[in-house]
Amino acid sequence: MARHSELQESGDNPPSRLVRKHRLSTRLWHWINAAALLALLMSGLMIFNAHPRLYWGEYGSFEDAAWLEIVSDGTRGAINLGSSSIETTGLLGIWTDGDGIRQERAFPYWATIPSGYDLAAARRWHFFFAWIFALALTGFMLRALLNGHIARQLHIRREQWSPAHIWREIKAHLRLRPSDRESRLDYNILQKFSYIAVIFLLLPLMIFTGLAMSPGMNAAWPWLVDIFGGRQSARSVHFIAAFLLLGFFVVHLAMVLLAGPVNGLRAMITGWYRLPEASKAEEAGGKNEGE
């Protein structure tokens, strides 16, 4: 009841209405997190360039078998994945930098911070933004838990668990028309799955696999590196999880573009979301986050 009355209408545009969609804490965290993750990814790729090989287990170095390696053997850049090799000349392994100079490094200049090879600087960026990221995530989680955001927006309702419903949503997404059936103020089941997976699985996994690579943390919390099966395994999982997050980011961006980027961006910046006419009736029974 009270929630419904919080939907605030804008007077001048009767066919569609502006409603409060995202609270300040959500919006703040979203943008801090986005900026921190971008800095972490790009500085992380520079750190990876220092030793572009991944292993499983406790140890792994030049003479040990790598499950993934980005190689540059003079003329050819490639990703070696297990026993297969995929040529990536021009993109990975060998590429031309902004000044037209040919470089033999794993990830190209436009994907790394700094753009040139500098392990010490990349580490400084990485650890600084790691603190921002971890503190912001902790703050957001606590706030979202206490203010009911998680309980209301991310809780998967019983009817959403039905296979028929999940299948309908998958089909709607594959037709690139998600959320047609749902109020746009309510997250659909696939959104809930991905947000839960990202916030409660992937993001914490980045923190814990990152800490598990630290020799200081290994002495303090030996169980942490054991969970991942060794330091080099933790490094591999850190890398895999980072690319899963990148995958989430690409899909997330595509969904925002499909659903209306101006409306979506405005909602995530100002909190105000323009409710499309069609879903207005449905929305009356829907939930929103605003306060």
């Binding site: 971008l38 800095a39 790009m42 750190i47 990876f48 220092a50 030793h51 090989r53 406790e58 140890y59 792994g60 170095s61 030049f62 003479e63 040990d64 436009w110 911070i113 700094p114 753009s115 040139g116 500098d118 392990l119 010490a120 600087a121 580490r123 400084r124 960026w125 650890f127 600084f128 790691a130 603190w131 800490l211 690579m213 630290s214 020799p215 200081g216 943390m217 290994n218 002495a219 303090a220 919390w221 030996p222 590196v225 330091r231 080099q232 490094r235 573009l257 209306g260 980027p261 101006v262 961006l265 499309p276």
Partner: protein, 257 residues
Amino acid sequence: MKENNGLLLPRRKLLGGMAASAGLALSGCDALNDSADFRSVLRSAERLNKASQRLIAGRGALAREYSQSEMSPAFPKNGTINPGTPEYLRHVSEGFANWRLRLDGMFARPMSLSLAQLMAMPAREQITRHDCVEGWSAIGKWRGPPLRLLLEAAQISSRARYIIFHCADDFGGTPYYESIDLIDAFHPQTILAWGMNGGMLPVGHGAPVRLRVERQLGYKHAKYVMLIEAAESLSGVGKGKGGYWEDEYDYEWYAGI
């Protein structure tokens, strides 16, 4: 319908804008990286890392020790693999018989020890994981006296805050050195290793003696140690940041992560 028409243009603009801002962000990051003020902001994380790890681990937490079967089949030689100076080569040819390890600086009893004397001291053997700042790890077996025993024998001054390791090698004319604080210097696993993987420490790994400081990254584990200095501050050595990589390449002094 209405929504689509309204959004076609902004969407295209948005994509163009995103590509442009990505380019801007890229050069912006390099510009930020070149700013001394911004770098000092980034550097604040190093203090946080050190303070929080010291808080969580305490002084005494031990690095993991492994069994013989968990050792790496190959332990990479990294950094200098032979100091190559006439003096060092002479020591190698003499089996380090005339080599001396000096302890100097803020000690009541500065010392000079032969390799035989060092090897006669109570030794600790530990199989530990060596983590390079670049990302690789290797597990090896190390043997040597705890640094603490030497510092106590030379009667380190209560005013000393740092232990500085001066090495026989140099990088492009700059002598290699490293430093640790007393918490790590007195840690039970901090040893001066003269033995590796069951034999004598090879030249490629820092013969005759290298530091093992197991809770930090590889560049802190000074090889070819010649002189151990106790000091009140790091400002008097090199460029004052406490190590070769710290001075020349801006690596963190605290390398626990």
